[in-house]
């Protein structure tokens, strides 16, 4: 019953639950959409990461089978979380934000949502590439 692997699995599952809950609670508590974006992108990612680690240890220790499925899901979520966050931020900015409230770019061109890129747009192609690397 008090097998060290079992204790480890328990710890990771509880940690995952707590972080997942905190991420969703951030969605409820914070005032501003951009602030709310911070909770789910960070806390929830760690929560699900620890749940997946718990599942790996569980498969290894209890069933005795090596399982690395979970790494794929973790990797996928780690790769996609920044992209969704970026897209949501852009969707928020284009609909709700006043462009005078944003700081300047410090260059000749404005932010990519408002201004066209010089030549072929590299801003959008750069973001979409990361899901595939």
């Amino acid at each position: 019953m008090t097998d060290p692997a079992e204790i480890l699995v328990t710890i990771f599952i509880v940690l995952g639950g707590v972080f997942g809950l905190v991420g969703s609670y951030g969605l409820l508590k914070l005032r501003d959409t951009m602030q709310r974006l911070h909770g789910p992108t960070k806390a929830t990612t760690l929560g699900i990461g620890s749940v997946l680690i718990a599942s790996m240890i569980h498969a290894l220790a209890v069933k005795g089978a090596l399982s690395f499925h979970e790494l794929l899901i973790t990797l996928f979520l780690l790769l996609t979380a920044p992209i969704t966050a970026n897209f949501i931020a852009k969707a928020y900015i284009i609909r709700n934000s006043d462009r005078t409230k944003l700081p300047g770019t410090g260059g000749r061109y404005g932010w990519s949502v408002y201004d066209d890129a010089p030549g072929p747009s590299e801003a959008t192609t750069g973001e979409q590439g990361s899901s595939q690397d």
């Binding site: 019953m1 008090t2 079992e6 204790i7 699995v9 328990t10 599952i13 509880v14 995952g16 639950g17 707590v18 997942g20 809950l21 991420g23 969703s24 609670y25 969605l27 409820l28 959409t33 709310r36 974006l37 789910p40 929830t44 990612t45 929560g47 699900i48 749940v51 997946l52 718990a54 599942s55 569980h58 498969a59 209890v62 069933k63 399982s67 499925h69 979970e70 794929l72 899901i73 996928f76 979520l77 996609t80 992209i83 969704t84 897209f87 949501i88 931020a89 852009k90 969707a91 928020y92 284009i94 609909r95 709700n96 949502v113 899901s131």
Partner: protein
């Protein structure tokens, strides 16, 4: 012991789903609703994985992988629709 931890985690992620639902209902602008939907997808993945641990089978991993992918694509499609008014240009 693992059973207690699993029940606790189920409760946590279930409560998280309710918070997200609240944000979808109230959320003042579309970006909030997309964010809440995305968080819901992540919570559902966690629930699926935990259910797989409880049942002791690996069948649910394919399901959670698929949910992860569909969730990502739908979030991006929704955001793109708001950004451009069109999904595939």
């Amino acid at each position: 012991m693992i059973d207690i931890a699993l029940t606790f985690a189920f409760a946590c992620f279930g409560l998280g789903l309710l918070f997200c639902l609240w944000r979808i209902t109230v959320g003042p602008n579309p970006a909030d609703r997309i964010l809440a939907l995305d968080t819901m997808v992540i919570n559902v993945i966690a629930l699926l994985v935990l259910y797989g641990v409880r049942e002791g089978t690996a069948v649910y991993f394919e399901a959670s992988m698929l949910v992860a992918m569909v969730g990502f694509v739908s979030t991006v499609a929704y955001c793109r629709f708001i950004l451009r008014g069109d999904i595939i240009e």
